[in-house]
Amino acid sequence: MAQITLKALAHSYERNPQSNGDYAIRRMDHVWEQGGAYALLGPSGCGKSTLLNIISGLLEPSDGEILFDGVKVNSLPPEERNIAQVFQFPVIYDTMTVFDNLAFPLRNMKVPEHKIQSKVHEVADILELTPLLKRKAKNLTADEKQKVSMGRGLVRDDVSAILFDEPLTVIDPQLKWKLRRKLKQIHEQFNLTMIYVTHDQLEAATFADKIAVMYEGQVVQFGSPHELFENPSHTFVGYFIGSPGMNFFEVTTSDSGFRYHDIEFPASRKLLQQIDDIGTDNIKLGIRPEFVHVWDNKNSEAFEVDVIDIEDLGTYHIMSFQFKDTVMKARLHEDQKIPTSKAWISFPEQWVKVYVNEFLVEVEGD
């Protein structure tokens, strides 16, 4: 069993960190519930590897606490935490057979041999490795090796969390989805907390029930793939998740809403008050290309914009257009009429998100 709690956790590689920029991980509070399937997603350099090393015990955090089931484990080494880890490149013991590889952690813990036999066979069955048990691990394919390294974690009864560090990097593209499926099945069969670290949105969203998106040392959103798509809580999430990413344009506030050049977007008084309290002029509106409405004909509700480019992506089109001084994108479905030089677009109200200082602002108690 493991619930992993990060309490006021921060980490800096500097001895005397001064500003936020000196922190690889900025102060955060976070809980990974027992039995959850999680992903830690972010671009390179966002701090996700540092956080992974803190969870696995390879790195002691400079500030705050990491708790396993409420017990502080800051300085416990990996071997004393009940975790297993699957690395980017398969780690297997070359000279041993697949069976011996799987039995290795149990033998190290002096588990009786008959118990090792049954446990290894059980796990090999689930991972579909049974026919390979007698083979030298060295001669396996990359996906089989990754399964073996996962199996070494699964054989142990004391393991309650498995960490994955970009585990599909070296797997053939055609085999990737099968391994992703296997991972999901394993999560359902074993009552394990799984944390999957990756920079690939597809890997993260396919595996995890909840994704923590990291950016510049902080978790900017923790939510389901659905929430990340429909309600990104930071401009970075909007940009990073989805292809193409979210459209943003800078606005100012007025008495009744947001002003963009000569266009007025109405907003509730309550929301405007909230923004006023924050007191900044970094205000952006954002909308996903999927939600921009493109009309077939001139329309009184729609803005007229100049079409810059149409990308034909086979079964859909991406239209780039000039919306005042911002270039934006809209997704057109296959049978939709393709505008030529002018297009009429509108933004359905429920899909226009407000970002203040890059973070999403919603009306409280709404």
């Binding site: 992703r180 099945q185 690939d200 659905h226 034909d312 086979g314 296959e334």
Partner: protein, 362 residues
């Protein structure tokens, strides 16, 4: 200039790497070579560059036979998958190197380097060394070096493969823009159908050393001549379903059948393979005569803004390409709607018999 490959074949140690390829690259065109690993993309590029000599056939540049002309005497440049720059030279010197070799005057070099660096947005990095750059910046430098010298032919061998996907999106769009303004032939190798679509221009689909089809990208995508092209140029791959056509009906694997509709009426009775695009199968019906198929979910792959849903029933495995995020559990039972109008029909030899009509585009 134009580039023509005429009956080009290449075999190495008795193994045929390229088989009888005929291809004409128009002046100023951008051409994507699409194919899986070992399809022959790199070999064709090396043949075009003159790094290899074809076993048989001719290569013509502007109508002149250049088959035996070594690479140094041709005006071309190449960008590779690895970020290849001179580590001991600054970004500026890296970009200037082909011009220095051509003994251009200093002033011209300076102008050109700055213009190219501006184009690729690396002007602030000119004084740095390649090791101090990120992957994306290194590849931009390599591209600048290829673009600076006004080559007649520029070859890109999977240049974006080692970059993360947001950077790829960006560079792809820039590359499209760059080639629009240039009058040289661009050749770009990739394994990803979606990259070929995003780059536009022309696409040549290669498979096991053979050229399957070459033409304008949307044309090749929407009007594949064979089942192989349809499968290669689709990500996720086009769903293929075996079917029997009678005078009145289409039957899939004995269980699912529907009335022969206006689209398919021209099909002679017999056995066919029907192709259906992953984006044409839906979670809700699009037309009244869509087929309702109960299926089991294998996996929902979610890419952030799209979902690839792998499903199966007793008779077939299907992939759905859905816009937006749709979360499903493994082995969940759902219903999907299979179109009867947007079907491609191939005969058993793999030749196309029928492609669906399109309301927009090609």
């Amino acid at each position: 200039m134009s580039l023509i490959l005429e009956n080009v074949s290449k075999s190495v140690d008795g193994q045929s790497w390229i088989t009888d390829v005929n291809m004409t690259l128009e002046p100023g065109s951008f051409n994507v070579l699409l194919g899986r690993t070992l399809a022959g993309k790199t070999t064709i590029m090396r043949l075009m560059a003159g790094l290899e000599r074809p076993t048989s056939g001719r290569i013509l540049m502007n109508g002149v036979d250049v088959t035996g002309v070594p690479v140094r005497q041709r005006n071309l440049s190449m960008v590779y998958q690895q970020f290849i720059n001179y580590p001991n030279l600054t970004v500026y010197e890296n970009i200037a190197s082909p011009l220095r070799l051509a003994k251009m005057p200093k002033k011209v070099i300076d102008e050109r380097v700055h213009a190219t660096a501006d184009m690729l947005r690396i002007t602030p990095l000119l004084k740095r060394f390649p090791t101090e750059l990120s992957g994306g910046q290194q590849q931009r430098t390599a591209m600048a070096r290829a673009l600076v010298k006004d080559a007649e032919l520029i070859l890109f061998d999977e240049p974006l493969v080692n970059l993360d996907y947001k950077l790829r999106e960006e560079l792809r769009a820039e590359l499209r823009e760059l080639f629009r303004q240039r009058n040289c032939i661009g050749v770009y190798a990739t394994t990803e159908p979606n990259e070929a679509l995003a780059l536009g221009g022309h696409t040549a689909v290669l498979h096991e050393g053979r050229l399957l089809q070459h033409g304008r990208t949307p044309e090749v995508y929407h009007r594949p001549r064979t089942i192989e092209t349809a499968e290669m140029f689709s990500e996720p791959p086009m769903n293929i379903v075996k079917a029997k056509v009678t005078d009145t009906e289409v039957t899939f694997d004995e269980t699912v059948h529907f009335q022969l509709n206006a689209d398919l009426r021209m099909l002679e009775p017999g056995q066919y393979n029907f192709g259906v695009r992953p984006s044409h199968i839906g979670l809700v019906p699009h037309a009244d005569d869509d087929l309702e198929l109960p299926v089991t979910v294998d996996l929902a792959e979610i890419s952030g803004s799209e979902t690839f849903l792998h499903v199966r029933n007793e008779y077939m495995n299907l992939v759905l390409h859905l816009s937006g995020v749709h979360e499903y559990d493994v082995d969940q039972k759902i219903t999907v709607y299979f179109p009867t109008h947007k079907l491609y029909a191939f005969d058993l030899a793999g030749q196309i018999i029928h492609a669906p009509h399109r309301l927009t585009g090609v």
